[in-house]
């Protein structure tokens, strides 16, 4: 019996091995080919989404999926980024700019056929502002009267918040101050409506992380509905036939892949498993460029890559030191030779042409002047300058930048700089608790307006984290800008504020982001806007042309 063991063992083994090899046989139509045929888009989405609950989620990968499943009162035009009707078919603004009245579509429906109207919005927003829910984007609501107070728990009656359903199809919103960018906020997913019956079926309204977003449960008001959600594998959405604009939607479905590893994603693209990638490995950008490959799409992005300086550190308190640091970063070299993906050197915090705003520029690459400043501050030729540490979150790109900048400071200022990388969570904690000297940071705009970039640095701004505080700056941003009479006047106030910021330099802007994607030629009508925002109702797949 024991002898038969080895032979039967081997037979079994061989059989299994053969089955492994034979598993390679079968239909070999690529995802792209199949997708073009069936109208299914295969989209590389970066990381696995934490949550698809629009009032709980916080990331960009979540955004891409949520906007397929849901819609807000308005959405942005994919070319101009101006607000266009969404669930609301029209709106009026009062003369003092504080009261917005929206007329909703009468053919708006949820993906299960339920009628969708103004009451949904009132309920949804009351839910979104429940303190226990922990909505990290609640600040989007704060322009609304009493929204902040409700969120903090200071008032508990939502009736007092400036949102009312005047009737089934009319929604009225009252703001504290005229907020010129308010319409843009409405396009952010944290202000999307949610289906009350579904949420309440799976738990309390303010209960975080219930099962209502899962496969089979999700109900939304967007062009697509959730078909499957296999964690770490793929999320598939299919056409929502109840969507009011369904007739114009060309795609039949989208499959979102959690492509964390950007190198693997690029290989998937080349193997025609994806139509669209989330990102492109830095070292491959040049190759695609050199080959003039139209698959590579590089578009400016509304975001700034910068270094925070902890102004509480003794040797970094002197503005001259900070300016010296800022003036010895050769941004041209960095964007040309290290990043190589069309990024633009940034000499101010707000990206240029943010709704017509061009930031004032007072910073430049000037090592000589920098050395003089450093000497004036008491460190001639870098002598006596304490060893300073650059903190960044673990990432190849950040590492490259930090290494290059470390070298530049050594070369031009003769100072010693060390590097420390931590992973994301630890890094965030270090930054929030002020446990750093210089730290890499990036800020992507939530809406297109300079305010979004400048209000970070208010004295008690949660995203400030530098310890910098200037009361005049606060006054300009919080009081003067909102009450400006015209857009130009407002921009002028921002210019004033940003001049102060750039003079004191608690942050060192480095470059303006670009987004880079690999796009299969069969995917048509993509938008090139600075928010990297695609409208799934506009893009479509064409049969492959060989």
């Amino acid at each position: 019996m024991k002898q038969q063991f080895s032979s039967s063992f081997f037979t079994l083994l061989s059989a299994l091995f053969m089955s492994l090899l034979l598993s390679g046989c079968g239909s070999s139509e690529s995802n792209v080919a199949e997708g073009n045929r069936t109208g299914i888009l295969h989209w590389g989405n970066g990381t696995e989404p934490q949550s698809l609950d629009p009032h709980v989620a916080t990331g960009v990968p979540e955004h891409h999926i949520i906007v397929a499943l849901m819609e807000g009162l308005v959405h942005k035009n994919s070319k101009t980024l101006e607000p266009e009707p969404g669930v609301a078919k029209s709106w009026t603004v009062s003369d003092d700019g504080r009261v917005y009245t929206f007329e909703l579509r009468d053919d708006a429906r949820w993906s299960n056929g339920d009628v969708h109207n103004a009451h949904d919005f009132v309920w949804s927003w009351s839910r979104a502002l429940q303190p226990a829910l922990g909505n990290l984007y609640a600040y989007m609501y704060f322009p609304i009267v009493n929204a902040h107070e409700f969120y903090k728990g200071e008032i508990t009656d939502f009736e007092q918040v400036g949102v009312k359903a005047l009737d089934d199809l009319t929604l009225q919103i009252t703001l504290k101050n005229p907020t010129p960018y308010f319409l843009q906020l409405l396009d952010h997913y944290s202000m999307y409506p949610v289906h009350q019956a579904t949420i309440e079926k799976f738990g309390r309204a303010d209960e975080r992380g219930t099962r209502w977003t899962y496969q089979g449960n999700f109900v939304g008001n967007g062009p697509f509905k959730l078909k499957t959600w296999e964690i770490n594998r793929a999320i598939e959405v299919e056409r929502n036939t109840f969507f009011y604009g369904n007739d114009e939607v060309k795609l039949n479905g989208i499959v979102f892949y959690p492509t964390e590893n950007v190198t693997t994603e690029e290989r998937m693209f080349r193997a025609e498993q994806l139509h669209y990638t989330n990102d492109v490995p830095i070292d491959k950008v040049q190759t695609y460029r050199d080959a003039n490959d139209p698959a590579l799409k590089v578009v400016p992005y509304l975001g700034t890559y910068y270094y925070r300086i902890n102004v509480r550190e003794p040797h970094l308190q002197d503005k001259r030191v900070r300016r010296a640091l800022g003036m010895t970063i050769d941004r041209e070299q960095l964007t040309e030779h290290v990043l190589k993906a069309g990024q633009i050197p940034a000499y101010a915090m707000t990206p240029p042409n943010t709704r017509g705003y061009y930031p004032p520029v007072s910073l430049s690459f000037d090592p000589e002047a920098a050395r003089q400043l450093l000497a004036d501050a008491g460190y001639p030729n870098g002598e006596g300058f304490p060893v300073t540490e650059i903190l960044y979150n673990t990432n190849e790109g950040h590492r490259k930048m930090a290494v290059a900048i470390q070298q530049m400071w050594r070369e031009h200022l003769n100072i010693e700089v060390t590097l420390l990388n931590q992973e994301w969570k630890v890094y965030l904690d270090s930054e929030s608790s002020g446990d750093y000297q210089i730290s890499r940071a990036g800020w992507i705009g939530d809406y297109v307006d300079p305010n979004n970039f400048l209000d970070m640095f208010l004295c008690d701004g949660g995203n400030n984290r530098t310890g910098w505080c200037n009361e005049e700056y606060d006054r300009l941003i919080l009081e003067v800008a909102p009450t400006a009479k015209t857009h130009e006047e407002r921009l002028a106030v921002f210019t004033q504020a940003e001049t102060m910021l750039m003079d004191d330099l608690p942050v060192l802007p480095i470059y303006t982001y670009t987004t880079k994607h690999l796009v299969h030629p069969s995917l048509k009508n993509l938008a090139n806007n600075i928010m990297d925002m695609q409208r799934y109702t506009e893009i479509y797949l064409e049969g492959e042309e060989d």
Partner: protein, 293 residues
């Protein structure tokens, strides 16, 4: 067989070590491995003086260039000389390999020797502990340790050493136990020699064989482990570099700049080969069953 003309020469007795050395000399591969290893160690030690460029010297305008007269092994994307990077990387990799193994060695040998020699209940408890630890998912713990406490070199040594000492302890214990039962130990004991002298003069020298072999074979797996951790982002941190890290970077740009992968890859592979062949050779050489005759 004709036995008419046979000359008998008195055979000189050889100790285990001399015997081993003779056998080892015959093993060409092992010798090559030894030679390679020694040269690598020498180069690593001398690196601060003989490296052609500064470790940190970067030249962003140049970027990655293939091998040339100024840069024999090319440059990386920062324009840093690859030969220099590989030499310094080798220092780190070999250091990790040797030190982590030394840690494992120290712990394992002492632990195993104590357990094997004392025997009885103490041995049973100690070996149970080893069995328990064997069951632990070590990769997981290392990842956790590195994630929790940050990535510093010392912790890396400790973490790797903590994984590898177990097998060493088992080997040593086994060896010590079988030796203890041997007659010559009993004889020494009955002659009145102290425990300590017995251990020092008889047990340890005879245990050294397998220990040396296993040590030589542990170093390569330690180096590979470091490379794995670097892949996950948990190993050596820049600006320091190791072969594992260099290979990881090289893999990313495998198609555009193959030399960034080939040279560190060859360096690591050669070292691993050398160590493995040497270890195999030592194992064969020290095996009493295959004598030189």
């Amino acid at each position: 067989m004709s036995t008419n003309e046979v000359t008998l020469t008195a055979e000189k007795g050889t100790s285990l070590w001399e015997d081993a050395w003779i056998k080892l000399r015959k093993n060409k591969l092992a010798l090559v491995g030894l030679g390679l290893l020694v040269s690598l160690c020498v180069i690593s030690l001398l690196t601060p003086w003989i490296a052609p460029y500064g470790y940190e010297e970067q030249n962003l305008l140049m970027g990655a260039t293939p091998p040339s007269a100024e840069h024999w092994l090319g440059t990386d994307i920062f324009g840093r000389d690859m030969l220099t990077r590989i030499m310094w990387g080798g220092r780190v990799s070999l250091m990790v390999g040797f030190i982590a193994t030394a840690v494992a060695l120290a712990i394992g040998v002492i632990y195993g020797a104590v357990a094997g020699y004392v025997g009885g209940r103490v041995d049973m408890v100690m070996m149970r502990l080893v069995d328990i630890l064997y069951a632990l998912p070590f990769m997981i713990f290392i990842i956790l340790l590195m994630v929790v406490f940050g990535r510093n070199l010392l912790l890396l040594f400790f973490a790797i050493g903590a994984v590898e000492w177990l097998t060493m302890a088992r080997i040593v214990r086994g060896q010590v136990m079988s030796l203890r039962k041997q007659e010559f130990v009993e004889a020494a004991h009955s002659l009145g020699l102290s425990q300590w002298i017995i251990i020092r003069r008889h047990i340890i020298p005879n245990t050294l064989g397998p220990v040396i072999v296993y040590t030589t074979l542990t170093i390569p797996s330690v180096m590979l482990l470091e490379a794995f951790l670097s892949f996950l982002g948990l190993g050596i941190q820049p600006p320091q570099s190791s072969w594992g890290l260099l290979i990881n970077y090289g893999v990313e740009t495998m198609e555009e700049y193959p030399w960034l992968l080939i040279f560190p890859g060859v360096a690591l592979s050669l070292t691993l080969f050398a160590l493995n062949f040497l270890g195999d050779g030592l194992r064969d050489a020290l095996d009493p069953r295959t004598s030189k005759d």
